[in-house]
């Protein structure tokens, strides 16, 4: 039988099967941690520390209840003397020989993350869009130097930046304030925003604005009504990348906030508690914290490469 020469671009069926099995195998293994943390969030603290680890366990909402509440331990007699639990979650708390003491700080930290994330994203994308347009269209003196400088700010380890910023914030009264972190994240994200958006702007043909200006638009009007709509995808992509950075940032948040303005990343490791055993609560916090990022990653998959390489690879 004559073998049919296959195109070098079209691997044989066997080669494809081989590739598929290996890739899917890797993907499944690499997803174990995420699946496991999700499963842990629905377990009881006892099941979470069972030996050997249970693959299947009774589902429970204790992790989420513990995540959002603070509780105090009471004796069995005291517990028996109490009136029956009013809500389902109070029941879950009592099952652990504890009574409800109040809400935890998790929701505050989560809201802080949202506020600081959206605030800094808005600022850095607005400023970044303007700067990127200027770098893309005008002759700015020392343009390449500025662009490289903007990039090189990312080479400084965050802890090194945090030393003077800590002192600066202390003098300005910005330590542990939302405004302080918003400003700082804005600056850190600016480098990404300017580089990414410049790439997107460069791809918009100049003829569009030129034509608009021939029709009597000023440059500002042309920028608003012609360039911005064309750059919408780029701006959306950049926004999500800035948001994810601010959402995930840990070092600055750890060193520059302690209470009022603390975001989720420095808070989540502290959920485990003093006994070091409340893993379901930590897993619940982690799940709620990671879910938005996972959704955005899937939405962004086409532009991921561009974002993570500062626009160096555009595909």
């Amino acid at each position: 039988m004559r073998t049919v020469p296959h195109s070098p671009l079209e691997p044989t069926t066997l080669a494809k099967w081989f590739a598929a099995i290996l890739v899917i195998g890797y993907a499944l293994i690499s997803l174990i941690p995420l699946v496991w943390i999700f499963m842990t969030s629905f377990r009881t603290p006892e099941d979470a520390i069972a030996y050997p680890p249970k693959v299947v366990a009774q589902a429970s909402a204790i992790g989420y209840v513990n995540l959002f509440t603070t509780r105090s331990r009471v004796s069995a007699e005291e517990l028996a003397a109490l009136p029956p639990a009013e809500t389902w979650y109070e029941g879950l708390v009592r099952e652990q020989q504890m009574i409800l003491a109040g809400p935890s700080r998790f929701s505050d930290r989560y809201l802080n993350s949202l506020l600081i994330g959206f605030g800094s994203t808005l600022l850095s994308v607005v400023l970044g869009t303007l700067a990127a347009y200027a770098f893309s269209r005008f002759r700015v003196p020392g343009k390449d130097d500025w662009l490289f400088f903007i990039l090189s700010t990312r080479m400084m380890p965050p802890i090194a930046v945090a030393i003077p910023v800590y002192l600066m914030f202390r003098n300005l009264g910005l330590n542990d304030t939302h405004l302080g972190l918003i400003l700082l994240y804005t600056v850190v994200n600016l480098s990404l925003a300017v580089w990414l958006l410049k790439g997107f702007m460069d791809e918009i043909p100049r003829e569009y604005e030129e034509a608009a200006m021939v029709d009597g638009y000023t440059r500002w009007q042309a920028f608003l009504k012609v360039v911005l709509p064309q750059a919408a995808t780029g701006i959306a992509t950049t926004s999500i990348f800035c948001l994810i950075f601010a959402w995930n940032e840990y070092a600055f948040a750890l060193l520059l906030t302690s209470g009022t303005a603390q975001t989720s990343p420095p808070f989540i490791p502290t959920i485990i508690g003093e006994g070091g055993l409340d893993w379901p609560a930590m897993a619940a916090g982690t799940t709620l914290f990671l879910l938005p990022v996972l959704v955005f990653t899937v939405l962004l998959r086409k532009h991921l490469l561009r974002g993570v390489t500062f626009g160096a690879i555009r595909k």
Binding site: K16, A20, V23, L130, P157, P205, V214, F289
Partner: protein, 336 residues
């Protein structure tokens, strides 16, 4: 090419109605030609392009000056003093370069550097190998390959601090899933990844590799897809073996992407803090104390601000130098 030609075009005053001259300043400015009558036109237009350019770039530059240049200069100043941030009112003494001398003569710092170098080299080597293999396999475009590549990419977008926290749970020797899997495959399971001085440097490498292999895969996949098909077709005609095709076409063509991945990963891992701070916090002892972890201890636990400023500057210079060398190398490879 087209836009360039277009912008160099100066409208002849007679042929064009006056209103259309609105675009003249921009064209003249960009093309570097004499901007005749800019004042008059700018007045019509509201703002000249030059003014608009500064208005657009200005806020960004001001913020960068305030939050990057100024702190950097301050760090450089502090690195020559004995300032301690927990004693803001104490008199600041000028030490000259002695902080730098102390940093460079400090045995602990060199130990950190060795730890960092070990982490950097092993994690990046593993990620390159695994990432390249995955990219080659994914490039065979089997059905559902794009779904699985998205699935593989998920870990790299997560918060490293949170990743460090939940891996700590997986590494628990009794109830952690990592040891359980090791036991399942017949290993003794009586080991503690995070408590053992031999194992914990590998624990951080493992988690970093789990998180960042997708990144390398993504870059190299783009590299593989950028190779023009005719090269392989030509090789096929010459009856080149798969092996030859890989070494003579695939690898050289992907090389710039490999170097780019190397550059981005080494900058990131040199700065590594979040993940390791939560996973091992530098321990046990100081076997996983990377440069950034040590810096945090010196600056924010021992409050040796001047000394740690000097260390910060040295780190910055090292990262900057490493990046410059890599970029040079990248240019060389690209020119070939």
């Amino acid at each position: 090419m087209k836009p360039r030609v277009f912008t160099q075009w100066t409208p002849p005053a007679t042929a064009v109605p006056a209103a259309n001259l609105a675009q003249a300043p921009g064209a003249a400015l960009r093309a570097g030609g004499p901007a005749t009558g800019r004042g008059r036109l700018a007045a019509r237009n509201g703002l000249s392009d030059r003014a608009l350019a500064w208005l657009f770039v200005g806020p960004t530059i001001v913020l960068l000056l305030a939050f990057n240049i100024f702190p950097l200069l301050w760090t450089i100043y502090l690195s020559f003093t004995n300032f301690r941030a927990n004693r803001p009112n104490a008199e600041i003494g000028w030490l000259g370069i002695s902080n730098y001398q102390r940093v460079l003569n400090d045995e602990a710092i060199w130990e950190n550097m060795r730890t960092t170098a070990h982490f950097l080299c092993t994690s990046i080597a593993l990620q390159l190998l695994l990432g390249f293999a995955l990219a080659l396999l994914l490039n065979r475009k089997f059905r559902s390959h794009s779904f699985w590549s998205t699935a593989i990419l998920l870990p790299m977008m997560l918060a490293p601090a949170v990743v460090g926290t939940f891996w700590k749970y997986f590494f628990e020797p009794q109830y952690g899933i990592f040891n359980a899997i090791a036991r399942f495959f017949g290993a003794s399971g009586n080991f503690t990844m995070l408590g053992d001085t031999q194992l914990s440097p590998w624990a951080i490498v493992l988690v970093d590799t789990w998180m960042w292999t997708p990144y390398v895969m993504l870059l190299l996949l783009a590299g593989l897809r950028s190779i023009p098909p005719y090269l392989y077709e030509a090789a096929e005609i010459d009856r080149a073996s798969e092996w030859t095709k890989f070494w003579r076409i695939t690898l050289p063509m992907v090389m710039p992407f490999i170097i780019l991945a190397l550059l981005f990963r080494s900058i990131e891992n040199f700065k590594m803090f979040d993940l390791v701070d939560n996973l091992t916090n530098g321990g046990p002892g100081s076997v996983t104390e990377l440069a950034s972890i040590h810096l945090k201890r010196e600056a924010f636990e021992k409050w040796r601000t001047g000394y740690s400023s000097a260390f910060a500057i040295i780190l910055f210079v090292a990262i900057y130098g490493m990046s410059l060398v890599t970029v040079r190398f990248l240019d060389k490879v690209k020119q070939r």
